[in-house]
Symmetry: C2
Subunit: 205 residues, 2 copies
DNA sequence: TTGATTTTGTACAATTCGGTACAAGTCAGG
DNA sequence: CCTGACTTGTACCGAATTGTACAAAATCAA
């Protein structure tokens, strides 16, 4: 076990391992090797061994890794051995899709609030969520223990809303708006912008 | 100008620069510096200069970069100085959101087909798109010039559908299914999985 | 015109990251 | 028990990536 600072790039791969392992577990597989896992996720076996060994000796020579054990450890490392409350900001098409997405529950996340600044939408429901008024967002967040927000609003208002989220104590933002966000060092942002992702591939076509 | 192989990591940053520059241009700004652009996108000025200089000397000492000129060059490099036809596979919530997304048009992409394997959905419309039968996907794609697909289907069928896409000549896949895909070397995949992205941040909370 | 200021592109240095190779532990079968 | 096949964790090394620093070019104000 290594108590030093773990590089971001390694942390970034762990959720991919976690996802693949979870899938193997669902298929009833009990054990895997760095080799096999590597083939599933497209990463070299040595890389996987090195990444995992940053956190302890979880494998067994000759046998590989117990999937349930490794799952537990990875969930613990990534702090998804619990359920995080998440706020969804923006009830447009993308917000709707995320609100209705069934893939969060068994991966550590639970949407607890949905906000929109359109007064016509406020009070309406998406499935079980009642859309709340964005004007009340800061006070609602401050009174909650929400540390994670998903931002599905236009780029024009993304930075100002982000500032409010930070002010309200949010520490992690999944940003669907096509714009880079400026946040303090203690706040993390991940970007999802389909056009940007597509543009990362056209170069090679 | 350097004709050598450009690292993936640099190509990955160019769309971010492009997005920021496009935004500046929309705001009527004519010129920028690596310093200013860096502040917008959260990347060091030296890094930006080095990235851009891989492709030529586009800046001017003392002045910086002409935004429209740099935009043209980046679009050319990334091959988004044209419009790419894109196929959308899966007409669920996420597929709907993407089909209706207005952010593709001025960034080089145009959805031209939407498929679903649910016979009840086939023939229905999402805005102007008629949902087509997934059974006809391969032949429809082969008869088209579609090289890019967006996959918004369940993980269980993602690999088999991917194999069909590859067989039909697709060379770039934006995968929304929460699973790693296996593709030949000449096919690129980008992953969008909100739970994975969130899990990349919880470690730091 | 001149000197101060700005900014690029790049050489060089430092750091980070990934691949190779192997000792040592584990297991299955005879 | 013994042998052969597997597999981990890590030391070592080369490659890739980023940071530092500066010469040279361009601009601007006086």
């Amino acid at each position: 076990m290594n108590a030093e600072k773990i590089p971001d790039i390694i942390i970034g791969r762990l959720p991919v391992y976690l996802r693949a392992l979870q899938r193997m577990a669902d298929n009833g597989i009990k054990t895997t090797s760095s080799q096999e896992l590597g083939e599933h996720v497209g990463i070299s076996a040595a890389q996987i061994r090195k990444d995992i060994s940053q956190f302890g000796e979880f494998g067994k020579q000759g046998t590989g890794y117990s999937i349930t054990y490794l799952l537990d450890k990875l969930r613990e490392i990534l702090k998804v051995d619990r359920i995080w409350d998440v706020a969804l900001i923006g009830a447009g098409d993308m917000g709707h899709a995320l609100a209705r997405y069934q893939g969060f529950t068994n991966r550590g996340f639970h949407i607890v609030m949905v906000f929109d600044n359109n007064k016509e939408k406020v009070g309406r429901k998406i499935d079980n969520f009642v859309i709340e008024d964005a004007d009340k967002m800061i006070e609602r967040l401050k009174a909650s223990n929400v540390k994670i927000a998903m931002l599905t609003i236009p780029a024009t208002s993304a930075q100002s809303v982000t500032d409010k989220l930070v002010q309200a104590g949010v520490r992690a933002i999944l940003n669907y708006a096509p714009i880079s966000l400026n946040v303090p060092n203690n706040v993390k942002v991940q970007y999802i912008d389909p056009a940007t992702h597509l543009q990362r591939m056209t170069y090679y076509l």
